[in-house]
Amino acid sequence: MKKLAISLYAAVTVALMIWGYYQAIYVAPDEQTMHEVQRIFYYHVPSAMVAFLFFAISLAGSIGYLSFRHSRNAWAQIADAWALAGAEVGVVFCTVVLITGPLWGRRAWGIWWTWDARLTTTLVLWLIYVSYLLLRRFAAGPQVQTLAAVLGIFGALDVPIVYMSNRWWRTMHPAPVFGGGPDSGLDPAMLRAFGWNVLAWLAWGLLILVLRYYVERQHQIIAAREAQDALNA
């Protein structure tokens, strides 16, 4: 039953991805000034939204770990697995954002990169979570999970700064498309294509997030069993 549900979800996700691609490439109209290169937007922005969501999950997991680590170890381990899964899958999506953005920028602005507030804060966000993953990978000892949780919370503080950066400061990055004032918004056909791609990338992201969570839980269970065996030997 569980296998069937996962297969069904994966099939729906693949269908959504294909439909999203079709909408972005063939259905959405050409933008008047940027023309075809604007279609990068349909992968760039949903990836950023999903990355933010997963960093929020990592934040919740980190807070959960710090809250339960002395009282309920089983809950703390579950929270820690969600924190790691959120951070890692968030980094994957953030990497997509940092690559597709400059590809668009090269055509729209004529440059690959500029030290603009939105771009710089996004790069800092990515670096913080990469350092989180490096800490988890290479550090050892009983304090690693606690240190990682603190770093995870610290990293998540950058998410609202990234989101607000093109509202707070003058940036080269385009003004907010949604909720950015009377001139913001999208053509309805573009909005539909954008909506389908948000849904598709969210479905895909949740699929790999849950898979990453299970891999981490399995790792925790194996590590606990090995530690128990070592104690018994």
């Binding site: 490439i25 075809e36 997509v96 690559i99 590809l103 790999i208 299970y214 891999v215 399995q218």
Partner: protein, 44 residues
């Protein structure tokens, strides 16, 4: 097609291909880890 349109098209293709390469590459890496841990769990 003029040169600008060709370049625009190439950049869109590059963005979409790189996105999928990253996502599918990560999925493949996760699959390998999943399999390795399943084997490790069986050994215990």
């Amino acid at each position: 097609m003029d040169q600008t349109a060709i370049l625009n098209h190439q950049f869109v293709v590059a963005a979409y291909v790189i996105t999928w390469a990253i996502q599918l590459g990560y999925l493949a890496w996760l699959g390998l880890r999943w399999r390795a841990q399943k084997r490790a769990a069986e050994r215990l």
